[in-house]
Amino acid sequence: MSAKQILNVENLQKTYGDADKPLKVVDQLSFSLQAGECYGLLGPNGAGKTTTIKLCLGLTAPDSGNITLAGYHVPQQARLARMRVGVVPQGDNLDPDFTVEENLIVYSRYFGMTREQINARLVWLLEFSRLESKRTARISELSGGMKRRLTLARALVNDPDIIFMDEPTTGLDPQARHLIWEGLKALLAQGKTIFLTTHFMDEAERLCDRLAVIDHGKLIAEGSPRDLIAEHIESQVIEVYGDQAKAWGDKSGKLAQRVETSGETLFCYTENVETLLQSLAHEEGLRYLHRPANLEDVFLKLTGREMRD
């Protein structure tokens, strides 16, 4: 492990369930995070993202494999490793019995911080999360976005080197999401490392230096958002909608390099759009959208379009 690696995972394996019906949740997973980068873990529901995070934090023991976090072996030295880590969990499990400020103070004690140490940090934390005016408010008085910001501030009480975030902006409105993203960018600018899972491809594309796509517990692709798009998919997409879409596709779909169907929509992937656009221009009753390929296209190509529960 090089000095700049803050999290290193090698051949991680985790199986749940009975011995006669084992379910491989994490299957020979290897990846590593460089200090200061934002690394995203993408995957459909049940792909093993949350289990991977739990394993990395030492909350559950792997069947086999090695994890090194912030210089400590996990799960053996997980307590020491977690001193250097902040966690933003999927749901807001703030303490409903306490005010905003009390939530931060009480949480800091779990890290063994003294009152002086937390007082020195409190002003910055409230400012960072833009909750200065809500210092003495109860949790039930906060909006969804405020709760998320407080959960983020709580993860920063111990001034961690690396922050784990499990779907940091799920359920937030666009304003609240942008505010969280700004916060995360500020943290990256300070040299913090961020390890996040997300369902939002725009979030991953915007924030992550590198991404891993996992499915059925296996790593199926890794790289920068731009490289993943270049490597795995044609550069242009035309989406064709409407009743006539299927008929048009049967006739002219072969002009695209690859066509995917989702309900009544055709997704035509190609490097060369001219002939497709010409063909579409002569069709009546068709609506279409031409756009560059994005991370969502890569994700759907790699993990398939069928529903996951």
Binding site: L57, L80, R82, D95, V106, R109, Y110
Partner: protein, 261 residues
Amino acid sequence: MSATSYTLPTLSMRFAPVWQRNFLVWKKLAVASVIGNIAEPLITLIAFGYGLGSLIKEINGIPYIEYLASGSICMSVMMAASFEALYSAFSRMHVQKTWETLMYTPLTLDDIVLAEMLWAASKSLISGVAILIVLFMLGIGLHPTTLLVPPLLFLIGMTFASIALICNALAKAYDFFTYYFTLFLTPMIFLSGVYYPNQQLPQWLSQVASFLPLSTAVDLVRPLLLGQTPEHAVEKLVILMAYCALGFYVATLLTRKRFSK
């Protein structure tokens, strides 16, 4: 479940901030909580003590109200510790997900179970001491030996909190605790010499009952409140501590198992 799951709990002082967290929450509602804790035993004491006491007068030479007072203080400590380690701990573990948050910090499950156990015991001690003060005002227990009662009440609280945390680790919902109260705690109250002496029971039952944790607790507390020395004190203390240690160990094992899923 892997072999390492059976390791003894690792105890560290890291539990202290979790205890403190629960204390801070309690402090916000302390007055209501203490009144609730005193009211129930006080009503029992007055209703049975004076009602039944006017008929029974005394048991083994002890005025009935004093006999009942020492039983009901143990019962109240047991109930307070059990409620806290069941309903309140379950809320923090399962409903509010407070325990999950704690595990993102340098704390381990063992620390959390230890904190919950000691907190439930502390809370039960608070109500025990409050009842003790009421007893003093009724002129009961005004002896130097009573000084040994609060530490003993704390041990009794620890014991019942530990046993209750086993039930907490197994619970799927709050409903589960009804069984614990109706099938375990309530019968134990009637077998442990709270309202009447164990000797009234059939001999075999009386012998079995004398090893119950509540019965052991009552046997230790009652003489002290009367200004006497308990018989077989060391033996009974060992029984109580064994229930406590074993209960706590099983509670940590089952809690680890619950969270390994």
